[in-house]
Amino acid sequence: MAAHIDASFVRIDGLHKHFGSNHVLKGIDLRIKEGEVVAIIGRSGSGKSTLLRSINGLETFEDGLVEVAGEKLHAGQTDLRALRQKVGMVFQQFNLFPHLTAGQNVMLAPQVVKKTPLADCEAIARQMLKKVGLDHKFDAFPDQLSGGQQQRVAIARALAMQPKVLLCDEITSALDPELVNEVLAVVKQLAAEGMTLIMVTHEMRFARDVGDKLVFMYEGRVHEMGPPKELFANPQTPELQSFISAVH
């Protein structure tokens, strides 16, 4: 890993967010190093998805700062394209573009956002689809693919923009159980290649085995944070204790 003056590659400072009168993020501070794999866990409503979606500006926030690889995001900022070129995202519902083939899904953003020549876009798309094991599905439409395959195309689509950080929002929650592993295998491979990953997940075993850092969110705050194996073996707060025993 390259030496940084400040070890934080992703920096979140004092993040506050309200939905109406509901204070969903109550001052989040988080530092993530390059290449780190961070798993965010917590009950629904704890603010974990909102936190993740704040990192690429899909959720606005009222106070605080997000910085990714030197690209700053302030409260209320409207032009997010520079930041979003550095932050890829994969969604629970895949959100592939149904009118485009798998290959076109992957090619689209490099082509229209980065203005990469078409032939290069196609090469990138083939390479990315190969990475997720779907190069033979280049011409398939999303509705011809299984859920697991669609999610892998979605990962390839995000990777084609060569992001510095990949956000994963419960990316296996909408999948049939037998399809979860093929997606996790891809994520695991990305982690091994040194991709900085921030994932909201319910896959506790995966978080423990692959994660470098576990973030437990509780009522809009980072309640506990540390190496996953330690936290799982020895939770410091009763809230994390009861959460772990509830999901096991």
Binding site: N56, R84, Q93, N95, F97, H99, A109, V112, R157
Partner: protein
């Protein structure tokens, strides 16, 4: 001097009038579609005053009779000292009318596109225009085709009103023929048949498009 009209004379004249109806319909529909796209962009864009004014535009044209709109165009432009021929006033009025309805139909189609499509394209760093152009509109267009073709029937029928400001299309031709032949029932029956011949294929086409796109993604 009395002139004898055969049924063929009547039909022949009506067919000529129908051509003007067709021409006006196509003009209003094409121009209305272009203006409608601009109205849609304003109505759905991020500029608050533009959103509000486009909403007002749509509500005005949906909330007033087409005939009043034509009167306003016809007499409004003359008021400014410009002499507008009936065909031009008819084309302008119908274009406004069509654009407002199409913008509203298309807005519904754009809003039917799931939020996840916006979020996915936004997270790929696309601008609003790129999201519209490459992700949202291609999908919205697919669902818009059937109601758009369906609405074209309303445009064809709407052209009948332009006879009142003196544009000689099918209805106006029918009026003159009814006066000259004293056979209003026959003439207006043929006029109605003329509209039906123009509109029915469109209705059939819209229905078949509806079936074709229903439940198929590409």
């Amino acid at each position: 001097m009395m002139m004898e009209f055969t049924t063929w004379d009547i039909v022949r004249n009506l067919m000529f009038g129908a051509l003007w109806t067709l021409g006006l319909s196509v003009t209003a529909f094409v121009l209305g579609g272009i203006v409608g796209l601009l109205v849609l962009a304003g109505r759905m864009g991020h500029t608050p005053w533009l959103r509000k004014s486009m909403r007002g535009y749509i509500e005005f044209f949906q909330g007033t009779p087409l005939l009043m709109q034509l009167f306003l165009v016809f007499f409004g432009i003359s008021l400014a000292g410009i002499d507008v021929p009936a065909w031009l006033a008819a084309a302008i009025g119908l274009t406004f009318f069509t654009s407002a309805y199409l913008a509203e139909i298309w807005r519904g189609c754009v809003e039917a596109i799931p939020k996840g499509q916006w979020e996915a394209s936004a997270s790929l760093a696309m601008s609003w225009l790129q999201q519209m152009r490459y992700v949202v509109l291609p999908q919205a267009l697919r669902i818009a085709v059937a109601p758009t073709v369906g609405f074209s029937v309303q445009v064809v029928k709407g052209t009948a009103v332009t006879s009142i400001i003196g544009f000689t299309e099918l209805t106006k031709t029918g009026g003159s023929l009814a006066n000259a032949t004293f056979q209003p029932f026959l003439v207006y029956g043929l006029v109605a048949a003329g509209y039906f011949i123009l509109c029915y294929p469109l209705s059939l086409y819209a229905a078949s498009l509806e079936r074709k796109f229903h439940g198929s993604a590409h």
